[in-house]
Amino acid sequence: MNALLDLLIRLFPRAFRRQFGADLHEQVRVDLGRAERRGRWPALAFTVWTGLDLIRSAVAERLRPTWVGAHATSERVPGFTAAVVVTLGLAVGANAGIFSVISAVLLDPLPFEEPDRLVYIAASAPGSDFPDEFPVSMEFYVQYAEQATLLDGLATFNSFTATLRVGDRIERVRMSMPTHTLFETLGAEPILGRLPEPEDGEDVAVISYALWTTWFGSDPDVIGKAYEAINLPRTIIGVMRPDFRFPNDGVLLWIPSEVPTEIVPGRFGRRLVGRLAPGAEPEDLATQLQTLASRLPERFGGSAAYARLIEQHRPVVRPLREELLGHVSGPLWVLMGSVALVLLIACANVANLFLVRTESRRRDLAVRRAMGAGRGLLIRTQMAEAVLLAAWGGALGVVLAWVGTPLLLRFAPTIPRGDSVAVEAPTLLFALGLSALAAIVCGLAPAVRASAPSLDRLRDAGRGHTRRRSWGRDGLVVAQTALALVLLVGSGLLVRSFVKLRSVDPGYDTEDIFTFQIAPESEGLSDGPEYARFHTDFMERVASLPGVESVGVVGELPLDEGVRGGRFVTEDRQADEDEGVLLNYTWSGGDYFSTMGIEVRLGRAFRAADTETDLGNALVSETAANLLWPDQDPIGRRLRRERSEEWATVVGVVEDVKQYNFRDAAEPLVYLPLVGPTPESWTVASPGYVVKTARAEQIAPEVRALVREVAPSAPMYAVHTMASLQADSMHRLSFTMLTLALASGLALLMGAIGLYGVLSYVVALRTQEIGVRMALGARAGEVRRMVVARGARIVAFGIVLGLFMAAAATRALGALLFATQPLDGITFLGTAIVLGGVGLLASYVPARRASSLDPAACLRAE
């Protein structure tokens, strides 16, 4: 007991022990004796509480001289404290916020069993006219699943929108039809019910937790009930866990898809997810799959073109994580890098504030040193202050991140797993780490400087400043300026890309166009002409709504849906059946082209009123026309789908449109009429409607009422305006641009404050010198020039350094840029000028103060 007590007392500082050690010892012993007389438990309680009290007191006492000092100093200079806390708070907050997003979206493992073994499998065929990468077809799946020894599981997957009907509730929802092997491959278990078996066929469904809680009120009895999805009743057999989302967040149910008994090779469009056998590498698997794929034609047959394609085929195997999250990781890391730069700038700024203050207190410190205060104590005092301020800054940062991150995410594009972003333990730890780092970076250099103020400082009464010290401060401002320029250039490049992307002509208008889809498939329509009549009648009703100028319909609306691809043969070169040209195709009807503002370059568009007369006609886009009939008049020529007997005659050539986004070049496109070449050809089941009206933003309820009237069980969905689709398509860029603009704005502000602070200090230090100069006849202008020149020199150094750093850094923006080079001269020059201007402005304020000094007062100072 005595030994323990001695040990606890030893925790106190020596001076304290010397004064109170014996008394402490005696008092604890007497009290313990009293407690022991009252029993074992009171004695134990006394020991514990007294022990804790001694530890707490000892720690507090050890910290007292420095902590009291820290409090006292920061209270004395309120401006200083506020500047440091706010600067660090903003920087830590920005970092913590972006980190919380990165942590939830990118760093958390995928919610599947051993997610690192999951791979995405697709195909490529270098040298063919196929895209760089494309999904495989069913025979690949069969071959791989049966024969790939390096795979422990394989499944196809997709996601699409289709109609789900539960009682009166009919909606278009996202669903997926994977092979039943999907769940086993991912290693996912249901929380309720069971997973599909091969014998279930396609009559069952597994539903998501989200669907279960929203549509079914978490009713466990839902298992075994059948509901209509994609026009057939499906029995619900299982409910998945809340974190099971595949392949993307919005999918609400999974219906197993059977492998057809008769496989037609070359029907590409199946995406594959596989589980690597333990120890296998993606590269090994790719090699094995290549061998397996090369034997496909001998097993499944297919055309000569298919055999040629298989010869060129190279499997694509990459981590599933990359496939699911790859598209957001680039922008997110760019943002993380930017806010890290902001933190560096903030640290430089705060270190500078500390340095400036240390300078102003150096006489005081020298006195303390002379009176015997140890170096260690002085460093500790300074560091304690830095730690305290950084802690406050960190706390402010966490609050800012907590408040700001949800706000920021509102402007964010649909980030996968975005709803699981939360400022939680990892983010708090991150913020804590950053604050500690900031404290060290900000406090250490000034602390060491402060601990060694030479005694000369006392003698020269604190006048004059050495070059070495001013270089430390100037260097920090140079670094700050350079880093700020890097961020400015980065956001400048994004702004330029954004402006260029906005001014791209996509081939259609985006103003005053309301769009939506309906799926009349559930209306009992059976053949092409019935569908066509339905669409035509419906369009007439919509056109009669007030304020509607025109109405059109298209199979796949640009920016909303992808078009299909197919091989087309023309009359001119039908020699080889397999030499078809790969083109996109869609259907259109009504006044589609005039509504969308797609120009007819040659011939005519389809006629809105008379669908029958368009039987067997087609329109081609300019790119398609050039591809099929280079330098010839395409009007009157005929083309048909490969392996189809129905020819279509080209009656017009229309402007190219950008289907997927404004970045990619327009692809060749063939438009077929709403009613096919023959009345029975096809049914356009869920097309997109376009409505030209100045009331595009408000007309939705009226259209919805109309839909309910003509097709009560056909849900209206994908309700947009072309303007909002355009904004959505730029979201990734605009979000990154917005965040980076915020970061660089912050950087610019901090850089300016840093420069202003340093120059103000320089002016204050040289007050006497300035006074002498002015007393000797120097004019105000000269004094101003002197101060501004110094600021300009610092900024110029920073800008030159920053330009080099930016040149190295902007490559990270890579795919975000559009029609803008990473080394875009105008952006570099422009941002340098802006930064230079701000720098001069920040210099001018202290310069004015210097030139307005009263010489007499200056000389009297000190």
Binding site: F16, Q19, F20, A22, D23, V28, L54, A60, E61
Partner: protein, 116 residues
């Protein structure tokens, strides 16, 4: 007179109060504090001596030599602490403040007739 920036705590007040009639040693201070606060303050050793250290730093309390040394064990001399002049003044100021505050409370609660 030196002021403790955050004002005087109740414990500090009672520690000062315990020495107002003459110097006391550590354990006696503790007992006096407990008795004079009607048992509401029972400072543990570490807390008590920290308060003492703090009051000494402020110059309100100092160690004093007394003639009445009565060692509990041979070889162990007790340290006695007493109020300095500023300590007395500080205690007086605080006592007046407390009295005024107490009077105000009694008046507002209607415990005494309003005077003047």
């Amino acid at each position: 007179m030196a002021e403790i920036p955050e004002g005087m705590s109740t414990l500090e007040y009672h520690v000062l109060l315990s020495m107002a009639s003459g110097p006391r040693y550590g354990y006696a201070i503790k007992d006096a504090v407990a008795a004079e606060s009607a048992g509401t303050l029972q400072p543990r050793a570490g807390t008590l001596y920290r308060v003492l250290a703090r009051l000494m730093t402020h110059g309100w309390v100092a160690e004093v030599q007394t003639g009445q040394d009565d060692p509990p064990h041979p070889g162990l001399t007790r340290k006695y602490y007493g109020l300095t002049a500023t300590g007395r003044a500080a205690l007086a100021v605080e006592a007046r403040r407390l009295r005024e505050a107490a009077a105000l409370a009694e008046e507002r609660l209607g415990l005494v007739e309003k005077t003047g």
